[in-house]
Symmetry: C2
Subunit: 229 residues, 2 copies
DNA sequence: CCTACCGATCGGTAGG
DNA sequence: CCTACCGATCGGTAGG
């Protein structure tokens, strides 16, 4: 019922071209807003679920108004995918760094598994864990196309474990079939998101040691280098 | 805009007292409708999540109209709790039966663990698995009061594992601290809901054997009795 | 258990 | 990025 002409209500509309932000000085600002949105989405999707979070919740969390997230993302689903993609890339990066950090000690297979497990706990439970939690527990809500794009990254992440488990299996230190071992091990680790409490109970180092004891049944031969958390 | 009086539109309203179904011949029918609703809710909550399922979805699945589920349940949340409660009670029953079935073979701790694991896979992946899946993956959506009621049942279910793991730990067959071992083992098993495909890959028996090999590192001394699935 | 409905909220969009 | 808005859908209820 607003009969006032738009010009009077909004007399000083910015002259910026619509739909295409400038690529010069303020490009960084736009990027930061995008990152802020993904961060807020990760936290809310984790706490309340994808379907339980409204785009208004996300907008409010970064100080925007209800329609503004759609300036940065074309849909709520695109935001979810951005969260998951960030989670997987971060996980792969940390895993790579952890392996590089351990390489000079010439670790055997058991020590490598320890490094992978410790890094995985860091990804799951350390800072930034919202992203990978959403990746793991909200996969129902992504489209088939998004799912296959993420499956590629998941494949990269998991591929690193394969030769390590193969070696342990051949050595007789892992009696479980390798394919099932990987699935069961990931389950044991991923489930920690449900019960881990940083303020009490075991540390991430203790968790990794316990997992090694459970799966391999012996302490790792090389005292594992601690991952910064 | 309907100006026709209700009496003309709905001239033959049943005389049944409102809000209190008769407790005689048709009591069983009412119970069946309730059970149907819980069943449909379990299937839909599992496939689409609690927040992704509307009460209309559930009503349609059992051939009711949109408002009718609220004749049987006072809220959507009450339906969720009913699903979870049924899931836990069924799990406890199956676990009890599995242990009773194995008792006459005088199983040692490793054989008992095998029975527990096999029964747990049956609960997670066999018929009726929707209930426990919802219990495991939709816990975010229940109220604090409901949560504590379910925690009691979960405690009962988990308590059975404790002495078994304790014994294995003392025997040196489980080197992981018992408390963490239970959490990690449950994770390994519960995660199978995410990847298990009944139509390909391992059977539930093979899964249980693989899990035993991973956690204990040896075949169970007593050939395990198969759980009916 | 159906009918008819309500207030609230949701994802998303046009226009500036 | 805000304003103003839309159509759709949601959980739940009164009354019979």
């Amino acid at each position: 019922m607003n009969t006032v002409s738009p010009e009077l209500v909004y007399p000083e509309a910015p002259r910026r071209a619509r739909g295409r932000p400038r690529k010069t000085a303020d490009e960084r600002d736009d990027g930061n807003r995008r990152v802020e949105l993904v961060h807020a989405a990760a936290r809310l999707f984790r706490r309340k679920g994808f379907d339980g979070t409204s785009t208004r919740d996300i907008a409010t969390a970064v100080g925007m108004h209800s329609g503004s997230p759609f300036y940065h993302f074309k849909s709520k689903g695109a935001l979810l995918h951005a969260v998951m993609d960030e989670g997987m890339r971060s996980a792969i990066l940390r895993q790579t760094l952890a392996l590089q950090g351990a390489a000079q000690a010439r670790p055997d297979a058991a020590a490598l598994l320890h490094v992978l497990i410790r890094s995985h706990f860091d990804v799951l439970l350390g800072p930034g864990s919202d992203f990978i939690s959403v990746m793991l527990y909200e996969s129902r809500s992504i489209t088939a196309k998004q799912r296959s794009a993420l499956a590629q990254l998941q494949g990269d992440y998991e591929a690193v474990w394969e030769p390590v488990l193969q070696t342990l299996h051949k050595q007789g230190r892992l009696q479980c079939p390798v394919k099932l071992a990987r699935l069961l091990i990931f389950g044991a680790l991923n489930w920690s998101v449900q019960w881990f409490d940083a303020k009490k109970g075991a540390s991430l180092d203790e968790l990794a040691d316990a997992a090694m004891a459970l799966f391999i049944g012996e302490a790792p031969p090389v005292p594992a280098r601690r991952v910064r958390s």
